[in-house]
Amino acid sequence: MTEPIVMYKDVHKSFGDVSVLRGIDLDIKPGEKVAVIGPSGSGKTTIIRMLMTLEQPTSGSIIVDGKNLWQMEKGGQLVPANEKHLREVRGDIGMVFQHFNLFPHMTILENCMTAPVQVKKEDKATAKKHSIEMLEKVGLGDKLDNYPSQLSGGQKQRVAMARALVMRPKIMLFDEVTSALDPELVGEVLEVIRDIAKEGEMAMVLVTHEMDFALDVADRVLFLDNGVIAEQGPPSQVLEHSENERLQSFLHRFRK
C-alpha cells in the first residue's frame, strides 16, 4: 500500500456566493492517471487549479507528498501558507493549460529552459541539453529558435508540455489541453500525452472532454457533478457500465 502523493480532504471552494466544490475527498497514488470529466461549470478545472496554487480552497486541506499545501505551522498553529511555503510544496507539480500560456517574448528553447535555470538553479548547459531533448521528444527539435507566434496551436501545446516536463514534476495537471485546438490538431497532442503516460512514473490528472482518450489512458475516471465526485472507478466501468443517470445523460451528449 503506497502512500498517496496527493490527498484532498473535504475541500470546498466558493467564488463569492457561488459554491463550486462542495466537499471533495480524493487520493491520488504516485504514478496514477486520473481523468476528470463532467459538465462545464462542475468544478473540474477548479480541482486542479487549487493543487497548482492558482486558486485557494475556501475550506478543507490538500496534502502533497505528506505536506499541507495551503496551511503551514507557525508557533504550533496552522496558518494560511505564505509564498515561500507554497513554493516549497508545489515544486513537484507541473501544469499544462487550455490556452497554452507560452511566454511570447521568449523563443521555444527559452520557454523551456528558463525555469530550470532560474528556479531549479541548474547550470545553463545542462538545462539547455535537457530542454532540447524534451523538445525533440515532442517533435519540435527543429523549432528551437522560433517564437510561439510562429507555431500552430498543436505545436504550442506540445511546447507547453515540454516546458512543464523539463521541471521533472511528480504530478502533472492537464487542464482541457485540447479544447482550444482545431480538431485536426487534437491527435498530435493526445499522442504526446499518451507517450508520457506510458513512461508511468508521473501521476497525471487530466481534465478532459475526450472520452475515448480517457478510457485509453486513465487508471481511474472521476465524474464531477454539482461540486462533488458523483461517480468514480476504472474507465471501462464509469464510461460504459455506470447506472448514474446524470452521468449517462452527460455521456450520451458526447456519444451522439
Binding site: 515544486g91 511570447p104 528558463t114
Partner: protein
C-alpha cells in the same frame, strides 16, 4: 536674411540648457514613472494611497504652477531650497511627467494576460521572478510607444524653464524680441525650427520603439 544671421547665434547659446534640462528630466521622469507605477501595484495599502495622491495632484494641476511652487513658494513656506533653478526645472518636469507615465507603467503591467502569471506560477517561479522574467519584459513592450510620445512632450515642456530665468532657447528668443519687436516673427520662427530639430531624433526613437514593441507581444 540678415535677421536670421543675427538671431541664430544668440539662440544657439540656449541649446545647451534646453538639452541638459531635457536629458535630466527624461532620466528622472522615467525613474519616477517606474517607482510610482510599481508602488501603485504594491500590496501595501499606505504606499498605494500615497502614490495615488502624488499622481492625482501632479496630473491635476498645471506644470507651470508646479514649477513656480518648487522655485518660489517652497523656499519661502518651508525653507526648502531646491538648490538651483536647474534642479527646480528638472524636478517639476520629471515629477509631472513621472505621474503621467506611472499610469502607463501600471496599466501595461496589469494588461499582461493573467495566463502568463499562472504559467510562471506553475513553473514555481517566485513573485519577483514572475515579474522580472515574464510580466515586465512583456509590459515594457507595451509601454514603449507611449513613452516615446512623452519624450517629445517633455522636450516641449522644457521651454517653461525660461520663466524661472533659465537661459534656454526660448529665453534668448524672448530677449531678442524685447529688444526689437519687429524681429519677433524671425525669432519665433527660428525658435520653432530649433525645437523641431531637437525633436527629430526623439521622433525617430519613438518610431523605433513602436516597431520594437510589435515584436513578441502576447496575442492569444
Amino acid at each position: 536674411m540678415d535677421a536670421i544671421v543675427e538671431v541664430f547665434p544668440v539662440l544657439v547659446k540656449g541649446v545647451e540648457i534646453t538639452i541638459k534640462v531635457l536629458l535630466a528630466s527624461i532620466v528622472l521622469g522615467y525613474l519616477m514613472a517606474f517607482i510610482a507605477g510599481f508602488c501603485r501595484l504594491s500590496n501595501n495599502i499606505i504606499l498605494r494611497k500615497i502614490t495615488g495622491f502624488y499622481v492625482e495632484v501632479f496630473r491635476g494641476t498645471s506644470l507651470i504652477v508646479q514649477l513656480f511652487w518648487l522655485y518660489y513658494a517652497l523656499p519661502i513656506l518651508f525653507g526648502i531650497e531646491i538648490g538651483s533653478d536647474f534642479w527646480a526645472g528638472v524636478l517639476a518636469i520629471s515629477l509631472n511627467y513621472g505621474a503621467y507615465m506611472s499610469e502607463i507603467v501600471r496599466s501595461s503591467i496589469l494588461s499582461v494576460a493573467k495566463g502568463q502569471t499562472e504559467a510562471a506560477t506553475a513553473l514555481n517561479m517566485s513573485r519577483f521572478q514572475r515579474m522580472r522574467l515574464v510580466i515586465f519584459p512583456q509590459a515594457v513592450r507595451m509601454m514603449l510607444p507611449e513613452f516615446g510620445n512623452y519624450l517629445i512632450l517633455m522636450l516641449k515642456s522644457t521651454s517653461l524653464v525660461s520663466l524661472i530665468g533659465m537661459t534656454d532657447i526660448l529665453y534668448y528668443g524672448d530677449i531678442l524680441r524685447s529688444s526689437d519687436l519687429s524681429q519677433a516673427p524671425t525669432v519665433y520662427l527660428l525658435v520653432l525650427v530649433f525645437y523641431f530639430i531637437i525633436a527629430l531624433p526623439l521622433i525617430w526613437l519613438t518610431k523605433k520603439m513602436e516597431s520594437a514593441s510589435k515584436k513578441g507581444v502576447a496575442s492569444q
